[in-house]
Symmetry: C3
Subunit: 426 residues, 3 copies
């Protein structure tokens, strides 16, 4: 698969950029259809408004056709067509003339970032509003404003995508990303696009594990999904990651599972220690995406988060500045490769035991130099160390950690020794 | 309950000061009667001389009416009425004329602290002696001395006080202090007086735990008490503290249980880390009071010690300098408040689990702001964290330690969430 | 037993020095017979060529009578009689005239150590060769060389020595050393000679444990021995050490067992921390002797290695420079004493529990001062601490580690308290 150093992933971002997504509605559907074009196995699922999901109910479906503000001079100063962020998410319909001071109560801007349009939503309390740059807001003049939001809140559906990629084992790796933010790049499009291309790569490889790959609206989507699949997830998911904010060129970031001690954490930390010098490791106290649901008490799934610049921690977060210049081909490609290395490590992290006791005679198998000199004696290498530690209890990452080598390097020796009949997979 | 910043506790010390206590005898009885006036539920118990207590026997009861030394000039230079420390504890009766050099073998003074009268006892070997300041000792002249100790060693009783304050649970918190030292303030009166007022406070509050509060002679008293109550203590006591040397204005000190890992240790350490900046933490190697019995192998009770300046570690220890100027109202009040905070923490240190899975919808209960902006999103606070970690396994202190907050602050959030039906006590 | 500061051990090295040992053959037999003179209980065992030992077969027996090279001028420039290292171990017989360039393919020297004759073997691939100093090699002239190796590779035996010294318990301490290198001192003779004198000392003492003491050819010998005794070893061996390179005057070195957590490791580390300031602690990654077999997965014996300058880590290793000037009487005596201290610690590392609950009354047994003064009160010493910690769960080393004292000092107090009936061995 040729990703052209991430340009292909960036192109998919561009295609998804204009769509006005929210936690429900046609924006999610269109997004999932485009992803389905790339991943034909993806199923698109609809859960009706009002469906109870633990403490929550699936909300009404929100769609919006048009929204604008016309100023006292008759000029259309705000138009949804210019930027999806201009309207507060889940705004109720409104068509009214009002004074500037009435209007101000419904405007949102960022005085500290006067060029940025903020991203604001009000999913669970009826409200309406517009977002604009603080510069524009300061220029508004007194007078009567015509305000229109042509939106609909109707009984409908919550929509999510699910792709199951079967492997040799019933045990599953869960990947979860979200498709509920309008035109933003790192905190939205990087997640589903990297996940799409990781899914293609997974499908192209022989697999130990079964993969469960989810494209959901954040929070209500994962809660809904967990409520429908709890027993299965608890039984089969052995590791999992939320992929979010994984497309800029700055940091690599990691947020562990609640316990910090799961297979997901073990594998990710191993890869970071061996392949990356600069990963920012957050704690579960810094959580903020769907790991909040996957790791919640009683759900207890082993899910961590893979990121580049973490949500809430970069200045462009949740504003119009989080765009397709911030997210780059190389940034997306870096996120893709980190995720790929972690999945490769999961796949090869097996436990081995010896086929017989004591050191095997490697010489007769041409796996060891025959002539003993001070120098050859000193060749106690990965191969010998693997044989010395593989006891059927520790796994390959445990051994790699002892040897201070990367599992992806040690794995090749494991294959040689397994093929020579000296190690047996447990 | 109004303690007038500790003045009330200090007044009780003054009332108990003149009584000549030892490990048995009327001094203990009078002391316990005064405490019983404050704590009407206190029972005063008598164990006969000769009663076997594991490796020990309750000794004869010791009482003393009079003791003095008259010097060669006819002057009464030492008189028990002047200071209870003048006579070696458990001195046998003597009435004799002797030379200075004979007398010297029975005198105790502290050359390094020439103004101090030392405190000396000889409970288990028949002996007699006088204690005096080294200054006075140096002034003694040659000649014949009249020596009189009008004491009695008779079959009698060992006396101790016990107060049981029932709570909702059968599980018990043990508090233990001692009443066997004559006129000394930090290493004696601070313990029973702070314990008296802590007991009053416990009685005035709703309680989870049952409290077992003991006023004993040190060592033989706790051994005797354990021997009579071993099975009950091992079954019900979940935490406990020895209160001693808890009335001066200098340090706060802590001595852990033998294992260092009990609930008593966990709670005390949490309070020290969150409310005190300067607690001296000793190890069990520094032990020296009744925790030696409560934590002894096979007894294994979870008992630690709460102190201000620890016995053996301050210069006035076991001498006439340990007086009611060293122990102050504010010193006693500080010891009282530390103990109170630890007990409050024990009381509220419960385990909670969620009433349902995944995050609850706080907004519909007015427990979370409805408008999502970058700033409100960042409000991941105690309430959210408590919901994220309360899994029915960890307790409130475990969560408080993760959040680096004090349990007494977190507890209020737990109550809110419990009342909202979101958390259930396990 | 009088070792004359190690001179006696050094004398035994001198006696064993001239013998031409290999992994099989008469050199091993002669060596074991000399050791048997010192240890009459030693049995000498023979395992036939071809015997299957897990992945290995006992090789043919190798003996050599004569070997030399005559140079073009008729001068015998290399003669086995001058140095056993001159012939590559397990060289096949050869008698041939050849050019210098043909001969060069069969010569081994060390350009970096031009005076040293290297030690080279080829046990499992048919080959022949000579070892010489690089200085001599550089002086060789063109022409025809007469080359003779009068060796034999025949069906015979692998020979090893085994000494069982019974103790009170069936549980065993394993000591293992090797007898397969020709004339080298630290990496050969120090091991069997120190082990011989340690065995004599063990036999001279009352013992808790049974001792299993092995003198084997390295690798094939231990594999062979384990294959014949696996179940017994796994059932009874509670600790063990390989003794090797234990005779020079430089470092003390330690190589732990695979887990690093066994009784062997615990005892050795305790002795190092309390009696030695400068032990080099290697990891199991640095392994290289028979612990490779004893600790191999599935064998899992608790075996570590005791050394002075470790194999592979000193410049004279595996060359003619590893001689009886490098290994000294004081070096051997130091290795002997370290081993002895570790075995003494193993022997006295018991668990004790109290005979009754609470502190015993030491005074009535004359085990504690009767007069209580500030100073005597402070005498909380080893005896009191031992009573305070001995709970039948922790062992004497655990307690010694808490007290930061050496078990060999604490042991005397344990004996006193056991004899006084206050502690009971568990």
């Amino acid at each position: 698969m040729e990703l052209d150093n991430g340009k292909i992933i960036h192109d998919l971002c561009k295609k998804l950029w204009p769509i006005n997504r929210s936690i429900t509605g046609d924006g999610v559907r269109k997004t999932l259809q485009i992803i389905q074009n790339e991943l034909p196995g993806l199923t698109i699922n609809e859960v009706p408004t009002g469906t109870q999901c633990f403490d929550w109910k699936v909300p009404k479906e929100w769609n919006i056709k048009n929204a604008y503000i016309i100023d006292p001079t008759g000029c259309k100063i705000i138009d949804l067509k210019d930027n999806n962020l201009h309207v507060v998410g889940y705004s109720i319909p409104i068509k009214k003339v009002m004074t500037l001071s009435e209007l101000q109560c419904h405007l949102h801007s960022l005085p500290d970032q006067p060029n940025a349009i903020p991203y604001v939503t009000s999913y669970y309390k009826e409200s309406w509003g517009f977002c604009l740059s603080d510069n524009q807001r300061q220029s508004l003049v007194e007078g009567q404003y015509k305000v229109c939001i042509d939106s609909e809140l109707t009984d409908g559906y919550l929509t999510y995508g699910e792709l199951i990629v079967p492997g040799k084992r019933k045990e599953e790796i869960l990947l979860s990303t979200y498709v509920c933010h309008p035109s933003m790049a790192n905190n939205e499009l990087s997640g589903p696009t990297v996940t799409t291309y990781i899914s293609k790569w997974i499908q192209s490889q022989p697999r130990e594990y079964t993969y469960r790959i989810l494209f959901l609206p954040e929070t209500i989507g994962s809660i809904c999904y967990i409520s429908k699949n709890l027993m299965h997830l608890k039984k089969y998911v052995v590791a999992g990651y939320v992929l979010t904010c994984i497309g800029d060129d700055r940091a690599y970031s990691y947020l562990p599972s609640r316990s910090g001690n799961t297979l997901s954490d073990k594998v990710a930390k191993h890869i970071f220690e061996n392949m990356y010098s600069d990963v920012i490791c957050y704690t579960y106290l810094d959580r903020g995406s769907d790991e909040r649901q996957y790791c919640s008490p009683g759900v207890d799934l082993p899910v961590a988060s893979l990121m580049r610049s973490k949500y809430l921690e970069y200045p462009e977060y949740h504003s119009s500045l989080d765009d397709l210049e911030l997210v780059t081909p190389s940034g997306l490609f870096g996120g893709y490769n980190m995720t790929k290395s972690i999945i490769e490590s999961l796949e090869c992290n097996k436990s081995y035991k010896p086929s017989q006791l004591c050191e095997p005679q490697l010489g007769k198998r041409n796996l060891y130099p025959n002539l003993s000199t001070p120098k050859t004696t000193k060749l106690v290498e990965n191969r010998m160390n693997l044989l010395a530690y593989a006891d059927g209890v520790v796994d390959l990452i445990d051994i790699a950690n002892i040897l201070k080598v990367c599992i992806l390097d040690l794995h090749s020796e494991a294959i040689i020794l397994e093929e020579a009949g000296l190690l047996i997979e447990c």
